[in-house]
C-alpha cells in the first residue's frame, strides 16, 4: 500500500488548518526543486506526528521562526514578538496534529496517530529514519518557508531492521 494523498489534497488540508482557523498567510506554494536547498537553511522549528498501524509513516512540518511565531501568536491571541519558546513548540505541535488528523482518513489502513514531537534549533534538516518522502508542499512568503511532508515507511520489517 502506498500513499494516495495528492499534493492538492495536502495543500487543501494545510491551508484549511492555517488560513481558515488561524488566519495565517503562508504565501505561495513553491516548486519542489526550487526549495529543496533553501528549506533546511531556514528551518528553525520542526514538528512530527507518526502514523502507526497497517500502514506507517509520519507527517513532518518545518518552518522558520517568523512563520512559527505568527502561528503561535494566532493560537495564543498575543503579539508575534511576545511568543515564548514553549508556546512556539506547543503551537507547531498542535498544527502538526491537526494536519495529520485530517490527512489520516486519506491514508490506507492507518490506525493511530502519535502525540506530536517538536524540535527547535537552526538549519534543521528534518527526516524520518527508515522512511522516504512521499508527498509534500512547501510555501514561501518572502524569506519565510513552511513545509509539510508525508513520509512513508517501506514496511514494518524495514523499520525493525
Amino acid at each position: 500500500m502506498h500513499v494516495t494523498v495528492s499534493e492538492p489534497d495536502l495543500a487543501e488540508i494545510v491551508e484549511g488548518a492555517t488560513s481558515m482557523m488561524l488566519g495565517l498567510d503562508l504565501g505561495e506554494i513553491a516548486p519542489r526543486d526550487a526549495v529543496s536547498d533553501v528549506t533546511p537553511s531556514r528551518c528553525a522549528i520542526g514538528a512530527s506526528v507518526q502514523f502507526t498501524g497497517e500502514w506507517s509513516g509520519a507527517l513532518v512540518i518545518g518552518c522558520d521562526e517568523s512563520i512559527g511565531n505568527e502561528a503561535a501568536a494566532a493560537m495564543f491571541g498575543c503579539e508575534v514578538d511576545r511568543v515564548a519558546a514553549d508556546e512556539l513548540a506547543d503551537a507547531l505541535g498542535e498544527l502538526a496534529n491537526m494536519i495529520a488528523g485530517n490527512v489520516k482518513p486519506l491514508l490506507p489502513a492507518t490506525t493511530a496517530l502519535s502525540l506530536p514531537t517538536v524540535v527547535q534549533g537552526s538549519h534543521l534538516l528534518l527526516g524520518i529514519p527508515g522512511a522516504t518522502p512521499a508527498v509534500g508542499v512547501t510555501y514561501q512568503r518572502g524569506a519565510s518557508v513552511f513545509s509539510v511532508e508525508i513520509y512513508e515507511r517501506a514496511s514494518k520489517a524495514a523499520v525493525i531492521a
Partner: protein
C-alpha cells in the same frame, strides 16, 4: 453554564475558549484540564455542564476519559474536539456515549450548533 475544556495543548485550549465565546457563550465559566486524568478530577470537583475533550492526550485519552465517566455512572455530556475524523473513531466515540464531535479545523458555528442543546 460551566464548560470543561480538556486538551494537552494550551494553544488549543485557548483557541477553543475563543471559539466558545465567539459562538455566543461568552458568559460561560471555563474550567481547563490537560488530560483525561486531570479531567476526571476536575469533573468531580467542578461538576461542569458540558465537557469538550481532545482525543489524543498523554496520561489518559479522551475516549478513555469518556469510558471511565460512563463506568462511574457520570452522565455529563462530553463532546470531542479533535483532529481524529475517521469514521471508525466517530463510531467508537458515539458508541461510548459522546454527545457530538467537532473536527479540527473548526469554526465558531460548530460550537454554536453543538453546545446549543445544553444551554
Amino acid at each position: 453554564m460551566k464548560i470543561l475544556i480538556v486538551d494537552d495543548s494550551r494553544a488549543m485550549r485557548m483557541i477553543v475558549k475563543r471559539h466558545v465565546a465567539q459562538a455566543g457563550f461568552e458568559g460561560c465559566e471555563i474550567v481547563e484540564a490537560e488530560n483525561g486524568r486531570e479531567a476526571l478530577e476536575a469533573i468531580r470537583a467542578a461538576a461542569p455542564d458540558v465537557v469538550l475533550s481532545d482525543w489524543n492526550m498523554p496520561e489518559m485519552t479522551g475516549i478513555e476519559l469518556l469510558e471511565a465517566l460512563r463506568a462511574e455512572g457520570v452522565t455529563v455530556p462530553l463532546g470531542f474536539v479533535t483532529s481524529e475524523s475517521s469514521p471508525d473513531f466517530k463510531d467508537r466515540a458515539f458508541d461510548a456515549g459522546a454527545a457530538f464531535m467537532i473536527t479540527k479545523p473548526f469554526g465558531a458555528d460548530d460550537f454554536t450548533r453543538c453546545l446549543a442543546p445544553f444551554v
